[in-house]
Each structure stands twice: as structure tokens, then as C-alpha cells.
């Protein structure tokens, strides 16, 4: 029996059959992890990093006496500081996140919910602290959950994610502003959004987050319909957020749409590159491995 490929380990039908965000998250994460050669579940300890020359005033307890005996040099041992990182799942809940194309296995928000839950589960397993920020459309009051390593935190995160409903208009900038205001200590922000909001404020907010020393991972969740524009028949399009309507003839509009869409995506890419923000596009009609891989890779850096 051959080893299943990554694609084989993700079946949207199986995912749909699972009840509850908990199972869906584990299904996604464990399915992904079983394919990796190196297990990420490793113990942590205080690890030696390197030496530096002794300076008067240094604590003699950190002096490497053996090295002194061997080389007659006074060196101080330096350790890799092993701290558990704080992660925040920040989720956009604007009405556009509710879109689900014909090929998608879940709406964009549903997809973000599952992936975020999977990451949270993994983080809590690793004794990292996970928290949560979202924005209530009606009241403009952020929904904020302080990061915690407690096992109960996973349940709380699931409830919070489960309660998210797509509603309201453009709110990315506000969400990021609230995140900047609420997250004080240096943390890792896992940002889930379709980013379908051209906003100078958004760019400014990402810059502020970086300025405050936060690491940001952006997961742009898009529907296949938005990327490929597969429509063929002329029909009335209504914007999910503004209610604006357009009579669209896809045959004539497709080329220009793709051109504008790709330029928009390129703009994002450039922005995140300039800010050194890891960024990945997550399609809701494909498996989420790409996002999880990015997440794991980045997580290692933050250890």
C-alpha cells in the first residue's frame, strides 16, 4: 500500500460529514501532520546557543569552566531563550467572507474557522498560548479573548470561532486597529481575511502591528470563483457588503476582471513583502495544507 499524498489525506466530503469544529480542526491538522517526516511534537528545553567573551560584572555561574580549563579563555555560555509564544487568531467577519462558490468545500469564513481552530489546537498542544480577536459588526465592539495555554482554552476558542457570522461592510481597518490596541505584548497574529477591501488604512494598520513588534501571518482566504471567475451566463451581481448591483456579461467582463483582480493581489503581495509579513492565499476549494505548512514553518522561527 503506497503512502497517501497530501491531497489524498484531505477529503471535503469527509470533512463535511464531521460534526463540530473540534473534529474538523483535528481532522485537518492531524491529516496534515501525519504526512510530515519530522514530527513537530518535540520536547523543549533550555538549549545552548553560543559563547561570548566574559565581561567584568557577568554572573560567574554562567562561566564555562571546562572551556576555561581547555582553552584558558573566559567565556560566558549563552542559551536560546525558550519561551512559549502567544498567538492571536484574528478573523475578519465581513459579509464578503460568507461567500461560497459552487466548488468550495466551505464558505470563506467557514474555511477560516476550521483552519484557525486547527492551528489553535496545535498551538495549545505545544504549550503555546492562543487568543482571539474578531469584530462585532453591529456594535463595533471587538470580541477579544486573552491568550492562554490552558486546555480549556481550546473549547473557548472553538465556541468563539463557532459564533462568528458573516455580516456588515468593510471593517478590516477597524479590526486591525482594535488588534493593535488590545494586543500589548509581542505576539504572533494569525490574520484570516479575504482582504477584499482596498484601504490605505489597512496598510497603515499592518505597519503599526509590525512596528509594535508583532509577527503577523496573513492567510488570505479566497473562493475559486473570485480567483478564476468561471461564470459564463450573463446575470445580475449584487455586492455582499454594499448591496450594489451590476448587470454582468462574463464573456466580456472576465478578462478585465482577472486583470484587475490579479493586479489587486499583486498589490497585496508587494505590501506584505515590504512589511516582511508571511502571506499565503488559501482557496476554499482546495486543501488547506499550504497555509498549515506556512504556519508550521513560521512557528518554528518564533520558538
Amino acid at each position: 500500500m503506497s503512502t497517501p499524498t497530501l491531497a489524498d489525506r484531505f477529503d471535503p466530503h469527509t470533512l463535511a460529514m464531521l460534526e463540530g469544529l473540534d473534529f474538523k480542526a483535528r481532522y485537518v491538522m492531524e491529516g496534515f501532520l501525519t504526512g510530515l517526516h519530522e514530527s513537530p511534537f518535540r520536547g523543549f528545553s533550555v538549549e545552548f546557543s553560543d559563547y561570548r567573551n566574559y565581561q567584568p560584572g557577568d554572573d560567574l555561574r554562567h562561566l564555562d569552566w571546562k572551556l576555561y580549563a581547555r582553552t584558558d579563555r573566559l567565556c560566558i555560555k549563552r542559551y536560546m531563550v525558550e519561551t512559549n509564544a502567544r498567538f492571536y487568531v484574528v478573523c475578519d467577519t465581513s459579509a464578503s467572507m460568507g461567500y461560497r462558490g459552487s466548488r468550495a468545500w466551505e464558505s470563506k469564513l467557514g474555511c477560516a474557522r476550521i483552519v484557525a481552530a486547527a492551528m489553535s489546537w496545535f498551538l495549545l498542544k505545544q504549550n503555546d498560548a492562543a487568543g482571539f480577536v474578531a469584530l462585532n459588526d453591529k456594535t463595533d465592539i471587538p470580541q477579544f479573548m486573552r491568550p492562554s495555554q490552558s486546555p480549556a482554552q481550546f473549547g473557548a476558542m472553538l465556541r468563539a470561532l463557532d459564533g462568528l457570522k458573516p455580516a456588515g461592510g468593510a471593517s478590516l481597518a477597524k479590526l486591525l486597529q482594535h488588534t493593535t490596541r488590545l494586543v500589548h505584548r509581542r505576539s504572533v497574529i494569525l490574520f484570516f481575511s479575504d482582504l477584499l477591501e482596498p484601504s490605505e488604512e489597512m496598510e497603515l494598520c499592518f505597519k503599526q502591528l509590525r512596528f509594535h513588534g508583532h509577527e503577523v501571518l496573513v492567510f488570505q482566504i479566497l473562493d475559486g470563483d473570485e480567483i478564476d471567475f468561471p461564470f459564463t451566463e450573463s446575470q445580475l451581481f449584487e455586492d455582499l457588503e454594499t448591496g450594489t448591483r451590476r448587470q454582468v456579461s462574463p464573456a466580456s467582463a472576465r478578462e478585465k476582471y482577472l486583470q484587475r483582480f490579479n493586479a489587486f493581489m499583486e498589490g497585496h503581495r508587494r505590501l506584505f513583502d515590504s512589511l516582511e509579513i508571511p502571506y499565503c492565499v488559501l482557496r476554499n476549494d482546495e486543501s488547506p495544507w499550504k497555509a498549515l505548512a506556512l504556519f508550521l514553518a513560521e512557528r518554528r522561527k518564533f520558538k
Partner: protein, 692 residues
């Protein structure tokens, strides 16, 4: 807009006019609009795709058919409101023209329902006339009715239906009250000020009593552009006799307990004789035929009878007269409470005073406590004050005596101060109670007799009868010359000096004589009037219920109670209970009945004895003298305002000329509101567009 007729009860037709202000109009609009709104709201266009990335398709054409779903209710409401206001503004002249009934005349009837109107059934005739006028009045005439009583009131306003107003007017009954013509005119004028009629008119159905018109001759003018009509010319004088102002007082003469009673008999016109009878507690005490030929118009009758001091007296004076035009004033009522023994403290050397107040003489009336001059301090300490303190000024040398006197006054008790001797100290104290002593040089020495006496004062009123002795015979020798800016002199000597005062400015009643009751200073103690005077003076000085016992019909009775009185409710009754008034904040206020008679006030929640009050018509209502053309109306009327432009007056209804639109203030308000609505809509939609 047209008027619709709805049949009510199968027989009557009720007119309902439709206008924008009619609630039925708005209900109809709501009923029509609701299904349309719901239909538009629920209608979903076919072939609609709700897409997230429409921003990349904004170069595509907008749908040809505008969306029918209401997306912004506020904007929608603003647009509708603005349109509605502007349409209403332009339609207003037409609406007014179609719906507006031009009121040609606003008319207020004032029905005089005072006692004097009962002459020749004047009130009944006036009432029936007004009721009939309602039947005749068309839609172009507004009619209101004011009843003139003690408190003039609006019986029906302009907005009341004629049937209802007619019914209310027919229910009116003749009253025994007296009301102010001026108050009724003011009430009518305020009604007319809010009326729509082009012509404003007051029709005063009255007998034009002279004394009523003369009461308010100096009132500043207030009637403008109001026509006043007196349908009834001044009625010729009638014959009338009336009894009024009954006064009963108890007098104690030796062993006898008497009631001194006076009543005023007024007559006019052709009345030649009358029979006067007085009944007290059901027994007739006087019946007297009086010949009124060549007698003055006002006669005071005085009588007296013996009466048990502990009895509450309820009396009635009746007059039987032939050819009397007004029967309502032929009876008058009075009451006299039983005697309650009072307590008097005496700090005086006068042996006459002590003897007069001794139990042998004042038993049952006054319990006397003679204060020992050596124990005034103990009296002050004891704080067991009597109702009245009789004190000679010679004792005011003592600080304790002064303290005692002040305490009596400030605790609203009575003080009878006899200024028999003056020292610098007493002089200073008298100044404190606002009495000044004139210098010795200004003093007119020698003996002087009483000359002028305030005969209407309750203390001296009985002495108008010679039965109790003549006060003019009393001598005073070298009285102290007192002067006061606050006190009222009640007796003057024949030398023009005031010798007896009442100071009403103190909380307690203070009577001051400028002499002591010794033979060296006055002959009064040996005069037969001394004991009755002393008793009456003390009775008046004691702290008692100050509320009067005689009222006019429709008056308001007000009584305050001490906080510890414990009275919860006051019940007004005659043979049966008439009303119950709860005591609020230690006070009651109740409207007295319209019918003359004797009424009892019972105090619930306390052992306080009942109080009997008498209600008698005003004696002024008995003066049946009339005027034909009251000059007061000319005083009350303002000069006419300049007449309107003749061209404007000639135009019937409402025209659409610029000037007429300008005058219609409502038009401008509607237009302004519409424009404000549009401006708000523009700002709001602009904001929405920006945020989108």
C-alpha cells in the same frame, strides 16, 4: 376634500369631514401603503448572484431596472416626508377652500346666575333663551356659554356640539351666589380670543344690577373688537325686603346668660310692612310685625333672650313680606357655639379686676389664676400658660414678667395690658410692642369721658343696645398718652385721645388700655358694662378657631390644622352627608354649597367638636337697582383696531394671490419643513455614498 355623512343610531346623521388632520385619513394611507411596502420588500429579482468581489466589476453597467427593495428606510422616509410636505404646502389653499367653513360670528352668552336674577324668573328665561339659540345657530356661528356665579365657569365651549351644549344649559339651576361681572367678561373675552369668527360678540343675559357695574369702574380696558349686547334693558325697580348680617353674641349679666342678637332689615320699593321671626333651635324667640312706611331703607333689629351657655345655637331669621320680588333673600341663618370655659392668668393689683374675674362672678366662663408677684419666675418656668394674660404695666419692671408677656404673645395667646404706670423700663418695653408714650408735657390732664367707640368691633357691638349700659358714661382720669403706628384705637376719650387699642400685628391678640382699672384712674369698674366688657374682651383675646362661621353660597372654605390636631377628614353635612374632604398638609379647602342654610363640619379622626357654619346670600344681591346703559362697558372696551383692507374684505374664501399666500403662515412652515427634509436627505445620502 368632501364631507362624508355617517349614519349613527339609524336616525341621526353625524358629519365627518376629511382632512389631512383626520386620523381616519392616516389610517387609510397606512392601510394602502403597508401591502405595497411588504410586496416590494419581499420581492427578489431572478438570476441574482450575491458576489464578494464585485468591486472588480464596477465598470459593468448598473441594472436597467432600479432595485425595488427599500435599502435605506431613513432616506426613504425623508424623501416621502419632504414630498408630502411640499405637496401639502401647495395644496393647502385648495384644502382650506374645500374644507374650511368660514365662521362668521363667534358668540359667547353670559348667563347671570346670581341671586338677583331670580326676580321675575330672570334666570330661567335667560337659560331657556340660550338653549333655544343653540337650535337656531348655523355652522357659521360659534356659540359658547359662560355661567356667572361666584366663580364664573364655561358651560360649553366653541368646540362642543350644539346638542350637548343645549343639554348642559338646560341643566342649569338658579343659584343664590353673587359673581363678578368683570370675571365673567374676562372669561368670555379669553374664549373669544381663541375663536375663529370674523365678528366677536358677548351677549350678556343679566338684570344689570347697579352695584355690580359700579364695582369695577376703574378696570383697565381689555375688550377689543368685541361687541357687547344686552338684550334685556334695565329692569324697573321692584319692591323687595331682605334680612342679612345676623350677629349673635353671648352676654353674661349677673346670673343671666343672654344672647344678644342683631339683624339688618333692608327694604325698597313698595314694601309697606313685614313680619320678622327668629327661630332658635326650633323655637320661636321673636315674631314681630314691622311697619316699614317712612322707615329708613336699612334698619337694624336687636333682640336678646336667655340661652343655656352649653348649648350650640342654630338660628334662622325669616321675613314674611307681601309683594316681594325676590324671595331668596327673605331668610338668613346664624349659629353660635356653646361657651367653653377659658383660663385667664391675672398679674394685677386692681382689686376690681380680681373681683370681676373671681369664680363667684365668672364661674363657667373663666377660671382665674392669680399670679403671685413674688413667684413670677416660677410661673415662667412652669410653662403652664392660660389662654389670656391680664397684666398691669407696673409689673413690667420685672424681667420675668416681661418674659411671660412675650411668651403669651409669641405663642398666639391673648394679652390684656393695662398701662397704669410708666417707668423708663416699661417705656422701653412698650416700644418693643410698638407703643410709644408721648411726653408728659403733651399730656392733657384731668378726667375725660369715652366719646368715640368702634361699635362694629365684636367687643363693643353689643353695647350699641342700651340694655347693657352706656359706655359714654365712663370716665378715665389722667390716662397715659399712648400712640402706635400698628395698633387700632377702639375707644377715644372726649379729649380726642385714644385710650383702648388692639394690636393685630402680634401672633397673639393684644389689647392695651391706657389706664389701670382702679378708681383713681377710671370709673369703669363700678359701671354695669364692666363685667360684660371684660368677658367679651377676654373671649376675643383667647386663641380660638379664627375661621369665620358665616359664608356666601359657593364660597371656598379653607381651614388649617395644627400638626398634632390629628384630623384626617372633614365631613360637610346638613341633614345628610354632602362631602368628605381629606386633610392634606394640615389644610382643607372645600367648596361650600349653593343653597343657603346651616351646615355642620365634622372632624374625623379627632374628638374635636363639630362646627356649624351659616351660608347666607350676599346682601348686595338684595339691592334691586338697575342701570340701563352701564358705563363700565365703555371703560372696559379698547378702541377699535383699524379696519382691514377693503379689497381684502371683499374677496370671499381663499384666493391664490401672492399676498394671500404670504399671509398663510402654515404655508411657509410646510414649505420650510419640506426644504429642511430635502436638505437632510441630501446630506444623509451624500454621507452614505461616501462611506460606501
Amino acid at each position: 376634500m368632501e364631507s362624508a355623512r355617517a349614519v349613527s343610531g339609524g336616525t341621526k346623521e353625524v358629519q365627518v369631514s376629511f382632512s389631512f388632520l383626520n386620523p381616519l385619513f392616516w389610517l387609510g394611507v397606512l392601510a394602502v401603503a403597508s401591502p405595497i411596502y411588504l410586496h416590494l420588500r419581499r420581492k427578489q429579482p431572478e438570476n441574482l448572484l450575491r458576489f464578494a468581489a464585485l468591486r472588480f466589476l464596477d465598470d459593468q453597467p448598473e441594472p436597467k431596472q432600479s432595485p425595488r427593495r427599500l435599502r435605506d428606510l431613513l432616506l426613504f422616509a425623508l424623501r416621502v416626508l419632504a414630498l408630502f410636505l411640499i405637496i401639502s404646502a401647495f395644496a393647502w389653499p385648495f384644502i382650506r377652500k374645500a374644507n374650511h367653513i368660514i365662521v362668521k360670528e363667534s358668540r359667547v352668552y353670559i348667563i347671570d346666575n346670581s341671586l338677583s336674577q331670580q326676580v321675575e324668573d330672570g334666570f330661567v328665561k335667560a337659560r331657556d333663551r340660550v338653549a333655544n339659540e343653540f337650535g337656531k345657530a348655523d355652522r357659521e356661528t360659534q356659540v359658547a356659554v359662560v355661567e356667572l356665579t361666584a366663580n364664573p365657569r364655561v358651560i360649553s365651549g366653541f368646540s362642543d356640539s350644539h346638542d350637548l351644549a343645549q343639554q348642559k344649559v338646560r341643566q342649569l339651576q338658579p343659584s343664590f351666589q353673587r359673581g363678578s361681572y368683570l370675571a365673567a367678561f374676562r372669561q368670555a373675552n379669553s374664549l373669544l380670543a381663541n375663536s375663529l369668527g370674523e365678528k366677536k360678540k358677548i351677549i350678556f343675559l343679566t338684570d344689570n344690577q347697579e352695584n355690580q357695574w359700579n364695582e369695577n369702574l376703574n378696570t383697565p380696558p381689555f375688550l377689543q373688537d368685541v361687541e357687547v349686547e344686552f338684550p334685556k334693558p334695565g329692569t324697573p325697580s321692584h319692591g323687595n325686603a331682605a334680612v342679612s348680617d345676623p350677629r349673635a353674641q353671648r352676654i353674661f349679666l349677673g346670673e343671666k346668660s343672654l344672647v344678644n342678637f342683631t339683624v339688618q332689615l333692608a327694604h325698597q320699593g313698595s314694601i309697606r310692612s313685614a313680619k320678622l321671626s327668629v327661630r332658635v333651635n326650633g323655637q320661636e324667640v321673636l315674631s314681630h310685625q314691622i311697619d316699614l312706611t317712612d322707615k329708613p331703607e336699612n334698619i337694624i333689629f336687636q333682640t336678646q333672650w336667655e340661652a343655656e351657655p352649653s348649648l350650640q345655637l342654630r338660628g334662622e331669621v325669616a321675613l314674611e313680606v307681601e309683594g316681594d320680588a325676590l324671595a331668596g333673600d327673605n331668610k338668613t341663618y346664624f349659629s353660635l357655639p356653646p361657651v367653653q370655659e377659658g383660663k385667664v392668668a391675672v398679674l394685677a393689683q386692681s382689686s376690681f379686676l380680681k373681683l370681676a374675674l373671681s369664680p363667684d362672678i365668672m364661674r363657667g366662663q373663666w377660671a382665674t389664676h392669680v399670679i403671685d408677684p413674688t413667684k413670677i419666675a416660677e410661673e415662667v418656668e412652669a410653662k403652664n400658660d392660660a389662654e389670656v394674660l391680664c397684666i398691669e404695666s407696673s409689673y413690667l419692671q420685672s424681667t420675668e414678667a416681661r418674659k411671660l408677656l412675650w411668651r403669651y404673645l409669641s405663642n398666639a395667646r391673648g394679652v390684656f395690658l393695662m398701662v397704669n404706670r410708666v417707668t423708663p423700663l416699661t417705656k422701653g418695653f412698650l416700644k418693643e410692642i410698638v407703643f410709644e408714650i408721648l411726653p408728659e408735657e403733651a399730656r392733657v390732664g384731668g378726667s375725660a369721658k369715652f366719646q368715640y367707640i368702634f361699635a362694629n368691633h365684636p367687643i363693643f357691638h353689643p353695647f350699641t343696645s342700651p340694655d347693657y349700659g352706656n359706655l359714654m358714661e365712663i370716665n378715665v382720669i389722667d390716662p397715659i398718652r399712648l400712640r402706635s403706628k400698628d395698633a387700632i384705637p377702639l375707644i377715644f376719650s372726649d379729649k380726642g385721645e385714644p385710650v383702648f387699642f388692639q394690636n393685630p400685628k402680634q401672633p397673639g391678640k393684644l389689647y392695651v388700655s391706657s389706664f389701670g382699672f382702679d378708681r383713681q384712674q377710671t370709673s369703669w369698674p363700678v359701671h354695669p358694662t364692666f363685667i360684660p366688657f371684660l368677658d367679651l374682651c377676654l373671649q376675643n383675646a383667647r386663641a380660638s378657631d379664627q375661621t369665620p362661621t358665616s359664608f356666601e353660597p359657593g364660597d371656598t372654605y379653607v381651614q388649617t390644622f395644627a400638626t398634632n390636631a390629628g384630623v384626617s377628614e372633614v365631613v360637610l353635612k346638613n341633614d345628610k352627608e354632602l362631602s368628605r374632604t381629606p386633610v392634606t398638609n394640615g389644610k382643607i379647602q372645600l367648596r361650600l354649597p349653593d343653597q343657603p342654610g346651616l351646615y355642620t363640619l365634622a372632624y374625623e379622626g379627632t374628638s374635636k367638636s363639630e362646627k356649624v357654619i351659616a351660608i347666607n346670600p350676599s346682601p348686595k344681591e338684595s339691592q334691586l337697582a338697575y342701570v340701563t346703559k352701564p358705563s363700565a362697558i365703555d371703560t372696559w372696551t379698547l378702541p377699535h383696531s383699524p379696519p382691514k383692507n377693503a379689497a381684502e374684505q371683499a374677496k370671499p374664501g381663499v384666493d391664490l394671490s401672492l399676498s394671500s399666500i404670504w399671509q398663510q403662515r402654515i404655508w411657509w412652515w410646510l414649505l420650510l419643513a419640506g426644504l429642511i427634509g430635502l436638505a437632510c436627505e441630501a446630506v444623509l445620502s451624500n454621507l452614505k455614498r461616501r462611506s460606501a
